[in-house]
Amino acid sequence: MALAKPLARLPLVLILAPIALGLDHTLTTAGPFADLLQHPGLWRAVALSLGPGLAATLIATGLTVLILAHVPPDARLFRLLPLGLALPHAALALGLALLIAPSGLIARALAPLMGWDAPPDLMTLQDRWGIGLTLGLVLKETPFLLFLALAARTPAIARRVEVAATLGQGRMARMIRVEWPALYPSLRLPILAVLTYGMTTVDMGAILGPGLPAPLSVEVTRAALRPDLGGAGLAASLALLQLGLTGLALLIWRGVERLAAAAPIPPDAARLAQMALALLTLPLICLALLAVLSQGGRWPFPDLVPHVAPQLPAGLWALGLTTLALALAAALAALALALVALQAPASRLEALIWLPLILPQVAFLPGLARGLIPLGLGPWPLTLMAHVVLVFPYVWLVIAGPWRALPAPLTLAARSLGAGGLRLALLHLGLMRPALAAALAVGVAASVGQYLATLLISGGRIATLTTEAVALASGPDRALVAGLALAQAALPLLAFALAARVKAFPSPGQSRKRTP
């Protein structure tokens, strides 16, 4: 391709420089290691990060394989995927909490049978073992992996599966021997992202995880929110521990990959796959629950429906517009940078792209803010820059795999037919249309979800649906929080729904219609 190699490396530098700034700050503020060991419940917090993170990734990947093997790709339920995908992590956690808490919908439905006139004093939420947190992560991440797997399933892969079917292979055997090995190169990065997300999530950890102690990521945030400077030191050293822990988990995942390759192929389980798919409707129930609650004032136990006192959050449209503008700009810029960076051959340097995902945000954002503020730019350019840095890894993980998997023979054939430069690039972009659209949608969703980056870097001068929702989530008005969570979900939902409609090239049927 036409771009010189150093130029193609520039985006990496642009993305990594701010992170290096932030990291440097984390390293210099980290408190003594001995203080870290004194932190109450440290090892339990570590276990609550590693356990749910690994378990949820394993289960979500397993469910993806199971569902892909048994459910045809044009199944109607797959059309609902964007719904679950677009639901922000915090919103899903909130909805799930409202479902399974002792004062939640399930307990209310059971109340007449059990004779409860007050919510039972049971630890169904924020359990000590992080089971609720794992469930929340599985519900959030399985649709994500399914979405990407469907986007990565090229016609060539589909044909190979058909061939395997004519050879009489079972569904699971076809999946694991033929389809999954072809898909996995595109899915590996997203799966690792799911793993790191599960271990570093703050919003899901705080809502669904236990509090005594909380998962490590939540402990980092708590320390960082302590007003005294000692809190910043502890937060920084906890964040470094989190970094090491995530590295360890990635190593463990390599082991899991080896074990999985050697494991025997499980038998077909169509019914289990249906059940797994049914489980994925839970986020939709959460969404519906949020919709009902957003209309509610009081929700006394054991009423199934809240007392209705409809209200719309003030300034919803302005907030939505700001959020959308920021998200679109950040996603487009990140995608452009990613495409430039992809002109260079794959390199080990690219592992650094993961840093913003692996590092707890609260530990490197203050350093990033400190680095950006002296530039003297307004809140918009600064916040956009921070968003691009944080959105870039998500866009990269969607686009890098499929781009690198572009069939070399096709490129050669195109070249031999005299296509070069621009035409070749257009051909590639045409082939990549679904992945490009998916990358944009994921970028928009990632930008919409940013709380700390928006607040800290803009100094509060840019209010988005998310900053508003998180601020209200710390308050007593559940209906408003639910309403904002829905509004927050609407933007990514739109993006994913649009992305899901993008096809690589017009299908033969369509082109035939156009040329009679």
Partner: protein, 388 residues
């Protein structure tokens, strides 16, 4: 807003015409934009700040509420800006108290002293409400201006004879397992509950006013060890803060709760978020009280307008609206005796609200212990109960 309304507002804002001539800040403030960083969790408070913005607009000031989930976010922002040498900072005014204030004051992050030069300052009840000039035993030194009084109250739903002492509360919890809890320290309300318990448990509560020394808190831990098994979730989980605790009461998970705003229950009932059977009660011997403040960072962009807003907050008009149980139910920081009869009438006209105690029934107030107690107790609590 027309000219007559502006004049009326100015009259309400200033104790006498003389101030209008001498307070040059009003002119300098006109046209400035104040970014008010304040907790944005409660729509009631957000609406109130929006209304305050309308009042400020009458003085030519644009007031923008930056909604925070935690005040520490704003502290971190100012600290970062100062470290980076930014003189035109993003934060003009912060809703603050306690540790956040002590930290900012200690690190030299605050503008001031400014409070005593505010035209409305003489109306503040610094004698009757010493918490308006002492924030967790830390003298405010004029670096923060009070805007509301807070006092620890208890709330109950369907408890016939509410316990009126810490010991009686523990007994009630033992006979009603799972129906009482407190926010997880170091949350300020959870810490206030522990400090209130210390007042009851220490042989000589006067030691709370001097710095904490090892062993002084010994009586607290056997009490908590005995109490926790009877709490909500057997004390194995705690709500994270005051709003989370309030939701437990609203959902019927708990039947006795606590709040730092004596008017909270009435205001929540008025907002339709709490059942109207909830009532407020206090403990015999008094409960801990403190004040909420606003402070101005040393690198604020709109220093003049921020002071005008701090002064506006101290006007009887604004204070009376904040005290309205249908609005916020916050108790005023002003001295009724220092007000004109017309201004006093604004307060006399306020209804009490269904769940609120009269000022007399609220009983005596106790001082916040020295700030070192808070740190020591929070650390000891985390070491004892934080590891699960």
């Amino acid at each position: 807003m027309n000219r007559r309304q502006t004049l009326a507002l100015l009259a309400a804002l200033l104790p006498s015409r003389a101030w209008a001539e001498t307070w040059a800040l009003l002119d300098q403030a006109r046209g400035q934009e104040v970014f008010f960083h304040a907790w944005g969790g409660d729509p009631k408070i957000n609406d109130f700040i929006a209304w305050l913005g309308d009042q400020a607009a009458g003085l030519g000031i644009t007031l923008t509420h930056v909604k925070l989930a935690a005040t520490a976010d704003a502290v971190a922002r100012v600290r970062t800006e100062i470290a980076a040498g930014t003189t035109k900072g993003a934060v003009d005014l912060i809703w603050i108290n306690g540790e956040n204030f002590a930290t900012m004051k200690r690190e030299g992050l605050l503008f001031g002293p400014f409070t005593e030069s505010l035209p409305n300052w003489p109306r503040v009840d610094t004698q009757g409400k010493p918490a308006t000039v002492t924030d967790f035993t830390e003298p405010t030194g004029g670096y923060e201006s009070p805007w509301a009084m807070a006092q620890l109250v208890f709330e109950q739903d369907g408890v016939n004879t509410p316990p009126r002492s810490i010991a009686a509360l523990a007994d009630w919890a033992a006979t009603n397992p799972g129906r009482f809890t407190y926010p997880q320290p170091p949350d300020y309300l959870g810490m206030t509950f522990l400090k209130q318990a210390l007042y009851a448990l220490l042989p000589d509560p006067a030691v709370l006013q001097s710095p904490h020394a090892p062993g002084l808190d010994a009586a607290l831990w056997p009490f908590l060890d005995a109490l926790h098994p009877h709490l909500w979730r057997q004390g194995r989980a705690f709500p994270k803060d005051e709003p989370a605790l309030g939701l437990l009461l609203a959902d019927g998970e708990t039947r006795i709760s606590l709040a730092f705003n004596p008017g909270r229950a009435s205001a929540e009932i008025a907002a339709g978020r709490l059942q109207d059977t909830v009532r407020t009660f206090v403990l015999e011997g008094g409960t801990i009280a403190n004040a909420s403040f606003v402070a101005i960072p040393v690198n604020a962009s709109a220093v003049q307008a921020a002071q005008v807003v701090a002064n506006l907050i101290l006007s009887p008009l604004v204070q009376a609206r904040a005290q309205d149980p249908g609005v916020l139910g916050f108790q005023t920081v002003l001295n009724m005796a220092a007000l004109t009869p017309e201004d006093r009438a604004l307060f006399d006209a306020l209804p009490l609200g269904p769940a609120t105690l009269s000022p007399l029934a609220l009983g005596p107030t106790l001082l916040e212990p020295h700030a070192s107690w808070m740190t020591a107790i929070a650390e000891a609590w985390a070491a004892r109960y934080g590891a699960g």
